[in-house]
Symmetry: C2
Subunit: 648 residues, 2 copies
């Protein structure tokens, strides 16, 4: 096959590729970074590059205008090289740091009644070993085994080849006084022997910290807590965007990217780099070496866990939606590629189903849902809208494909909750003029999830949109207009914004937001119905997920995202997933509880019949087809509202 | 520190190294091969290179003549770079293939009464798995676990991360009909669960071979048997020189080389390459893929096992001579770096001590020594002279540092048993003229081990040397002369030899041979004494080791290497180590027996007191100080022999 030279306008050297190679593939080869937020499906248009010379064939030009195409633009993920080409790569959007990445969990404390010295499975054992002499020539490893048996009661201890390589030096460097770091319990194999993680020269003082990390791999953000396993104290909290974002904003895009040639390895590398950076940052903060860390627990949705481990995730997105593995066996850091001690234990918490992963079982544990007598609804308001209903008696769960609208994707001026995002909006009921608050102050760049909920609620409550989400064109406000993308409402004029262009919300955006909120509402409605429990009997609603923290309950109820209940029934728990990973790190009692939770949760597949679809269609209105479900909203609608009048 | 440019006269690119770098280190960096048969100790002189330009500092010039030094020669392992240099590397001696590498073991058959279908721990299990649907969304791995429990009674099966990556595709490619390859038993952990090695799409016919390899890593030669585990049939036998030879002829040299910077990794790589080549060769011969092989057992001396696994071996050569590990835990091929199936089991057989390794326990098993009622002496006549004495009741063992004289090292014209080696010598008792047989016919290049035994015996029996090994200069034969290296006997005139130079045996060579044979004789004498058994009561002598095969018993007795017993008590077993590895491969009964043997063998440390030294000094004569121990030799000495007269 003919080879062509591809030259990028970066410092990268030109690469030679066969005819028919995608520009994104050539870019990987050349080491040029091109973001693909949709995972390379040609849906988002954000991988557009400019062809300055040479031939490419555009398989799709979705999201490119005729002018774009005339100017030479092509979608890198949809265009193949058919001759020598020269390509300009526009500056790639860098993901900005969240304002306060390092306060992941508002308040981390060990669970009630927890005693880490009893429950912790990682132990440090000081050993005094008889040195060999000419009358006792037994080998180093059998000496260690003998003493572990005699001094620690461990009859069987397994050792890795890496540790075998180090024990001879450790014994002699410590003059036959050493400290063994041992993991006593293997989660997936209770009958298995203890495992020697390390043999360290000398005796380590008993009160010196023993380090572990709890990691939550979110689709968007990876959070990490560095913990002293002896006391349960959290010594550092760090978080960072998941490096995979540049190759897919949501799990589906990532699964699609992973299925491409080399994609899986690439995504795995990206998240491992994020984790490495977090471990480094946390370790530096308290002046330890990453290899001083003996254990990691990992939480995250099923796709994140599969991608971390390099396990094909394709079956997650294809009917009948099954994972390769829900209960990942206990692994070592070297096997996973995480830069703590290579023999350190890596424990991926168990998930329940393709879309109810370890993040949710961890959330159930850390929220105490499995231990409460009150009928409780637990929700993760995100792309997959995972919901759990139950108490200490029983647990049912479901997930609905809400889509990433509340994360700013699929919304023209949507963006993540970073500097420059409008996070709250108020609309004057008479003038329909908005005021807003911008994260970090200054000029706005777009609207984040909480801003979109706020905006939609205000638009509805002031009549800018009607019950069906239609913009009221009969209004006199110049903010409601027919734009190039159809009807839209201007949230900020160009004079106020960072790039000088109007920030608007279009009728397409509103439709996407309606779909997202309807899916979530339909999810927990169907869940309650499936066990014959009326929503009103729910005694508390726990909202997990870092996005949840920023939701304004009143406004979320006004758009029908959350059920109409007294606000004091709502509790916002923040990142319940990393908190569950932290609990799981603390010891075997908590870890066993997570496995029990995963076993106990009954998964309801919403696509199995029409129940969900019917509930979804009923919820495609503001706040809902049936206003009787939302009495406080109905009461708050202005008398002029056509919706109020209709119902009244 | 100053950097200097080192240029070799090979195709290698010049390399830049800091001042003070050894030439051998620079060579490694440049990818230039320089043999170091003594492991880089500066003892053998075989790494000499010529400095054409620039400065090197010679730390040692041992084995170099003044002429050599004037011509610019330097020992690469003892000379450091102190400026830009240009170096000529003489052609490096390539190790020639043994004439018949591929008949390792004369006759391989499964042990008596062996039933592989009962004993084999590796099994292939056909599984029929219920595919998932929307009503049953459990994950792939739990489906496999369920069926392994229901259809094969395996309640707990562990799986590696690599296998987890493949099961999803395997299940779908086989349309939910798959074959599991499982290892049911872990040697070092009987309580541990079974291990899934592979999941293969489709059902494999029950009679299709299940492959395993038995490997013996000799210091000189690596041997491999490719075996059908279902029948025990050996389908291919291959052998090759151990690639480590270029970095040390004997175990001590290798340990020294391994302790150098990067040396351990280098030696590990070298033997792994040898093993890879053997696996490839054997696999090609019967048209299978190396990854079709599910299991490997490995035998070898303790140093070879440590170097294979990259475990520091330094403590083996330093008092009190202990290994890092005698019982290596069960490993996977990926962990060891052997190119069979990455999840295949690698079982390194257990050793007893630093100088009584797995090769000897394997030898005891395959020779049946642990199962015989007859008092038996088992010997591996080699550098380390390992000896075992006992029967089914008890076993004692020792090793003596015989040195590599019988392998051709430390003897001026010594060489390995390859083409061109004199392997047998006869000397005319009157003329003292020798005749000899050369391996492969043609002109001789040197004398191999069996040739040296033969030569020494003939020299003694014909009076060329006396009882103390002194050359009889009073003889009229021009073959006995004072050469440049002192007294010597000419075995072949230059006119008969390959390089046109005389092949001689010098008084230093004779002394080295005497030391080697005396050490071995002293070893088994002390062993017998230690358990109060007279040597005469030994009912059979089993000689293992590939060198053993070529020993002429009569001549070995004449020089006092072997005890003076009726020849029919001697049995030459060939490579008992690879045979033991083969037995161990066949199943758990045999494998358990090897562990029992290792446990049962009492190791006697010869350096613990003076007993060995005294026995060694007494054996430093031909055949021995005490001729009454060698009645047949005494009787065969010619009447003219001063030794006979003295005794007579």
């Amino acid at each position: 096959m003919a080879e062509h030279l591809v030259k990028f306008d970066t410092s990268a050297a030109p690469v030679s590729v066969p005819s028919g190679t995608l520009i994104t593939e050539a870019a990987v080869q050349a080491g040029v970074d091109i973001n693909q937020p949709c995972g390379g499906q040609g849906r988002c248009g954000r991988c557009a590059v400019q062809i300055n010379a040479g031939n490419v064939r555009r398989r799709s030009v979705l999201r490119l205008s005729q002018t774009d195409i005339k100017s030479g633009y092509a979608l890198a993920c949809q265009s193949v090289v058919e001759g020598d080409v020269e390509i300009s790569v526009p500056p790639q959007e860098k993901i900005e740091r969240r304002l306060t990445t390092d306060r992941v969990v508002a308040e981390v404390r060990a669970p009630h009644g927890y005693n880490p010295t009893l429950a912790q499975t990682i132990t440090r054992i000081p050993l005094s070993i008889t040195p060999p002499d000419i009358d006792d020539q037994s080998d180093d490893w059998s000496r260690v085994q003998t003493v572990l048996r005699q001094q620690a009661g461990l009859n069987e201890v397994v050792v890795s080849i890496e540790t075998l390589r180090t024990i001879g030096n450790a014994l002699r460097a410590g003059d036959w006084q050493v400290t063994a770091v041992v993991d006593n319990v293997t989660w997936d194999c209770p009958g298995c022997p203890a495992r020697l993680i390390d043999l360290i020269p000398g005796h380590i003082p008993a009160d010196e910290p023993l380090w572990g990390v709890a990691i939550d791999i979110g689709t968007t953000t990876v959070s990490l807590l560095l913990v002293d396993l002896l006391t349960g104290e959290v010594r550092a909290q760090v978080a960072e965007y998941n490096g995979q974002i540049a190759r897919g904003e949501d799990v589906i895009s990532r699964i699609i990217y992973a299925a491409k040639d080399g994609g899986s390895r690439h995504l795995q590398q990206m998240v491992l780099e994020t984790i490495e950076e977090l471990i480094d940052r946390a370790s530096k903060r308290i002046k330890i070496k990453p290899t001083d860390i003996s254990k990691a627990t990992i939480s995250g949705n099923s796709t994140m866990i599969h991608l971390l481990l390099g396990i094909p995730a394709e079956s997650i997105r294809l009917t009948p939606f099954v994972t390769a593995v829900n209960h990942v066996p206990s692994l070592t850091a070297a096997e996973v590629g995480i830069g703590i001690h290579p023999n350190g234990t890596v424990d991926c918490l168990p998930g329940v189903a393709s879309y109810v992963g370890a993040d949710i079982t961890a959330g159930v544990l850390s929220s105490g849902l499995d231990d409460t007598k009150s009928l409780t609804l637990f929700m993760d308001v995100g792309t997959n809208g995972e919901t759990v209903l139950g108490s200490q008696e029983w647990l049912v769960t479901c997930a609905c494909s809400a889509g990433p609208a509340f994360e700013g994707a699929g919304v023209m001026h949507g963006m993540r909750a970073t500097k420059g995002a409008i996070e709250e909006v108020w609309i004057n009921g008479y003038t329909l003029e908005p005021t807003y608050r911008v994260i970090g102050g200054g000029k706005p760049r777009g609207v984040c999830g909480s801003g979109l909920i706020s905006l939609l609620a205000e638009m509805f409550m002031t009549g800018v949109v009607d019950k069906a989400g239609r913009l009221n064109l009969s209004s006199e406000s110049e903010r409601i207009r027919g734009g190039s993308h159809g009807r839209e409402y201007v949230v900020a004029w160009g004079t106020e914004t960072q790039d000088g262009k109007d920030i608007v919300i279009t009728h397409v955006d509103i439709d996407n937001l309606l779909r997202a909120k309807a899916a979530i509402y339909a999810g927990f409605s169907v869940l309650a119905k499936s066990v014959g429990v009326p929503l009103e009997s729910v005694e508390q609603v726990l909202i997990g997920g870092s996005f949840g923290k920023y939701i304004n309950v009143e406004k979320a109820i006004q758009i029908g995202l959350l059920p109409d209940m007294p606000w004091d029934k709502y509790k916002f728990l923040g990142n319940t997933s990393v908190l569950g990973a932290y609990y799981g790190l603390l010891g075997k009692d908590m870890r066993n509880r997570i496995s029990e939770i995963a076993q106990k949760m009954t998964y309801i597949e919403l696509s199995a019949d029409n129940t969900f679809y019917d509930a979804f269609m009923s919820a495609m209105f503001l706040p809902h087809t049936d206003l009787t479900n939302f009495p406080t909203v109905a009461g708050a609608l202005p008398a002029t509202s056509p919706d109020r009048r209709k119902e009244g």
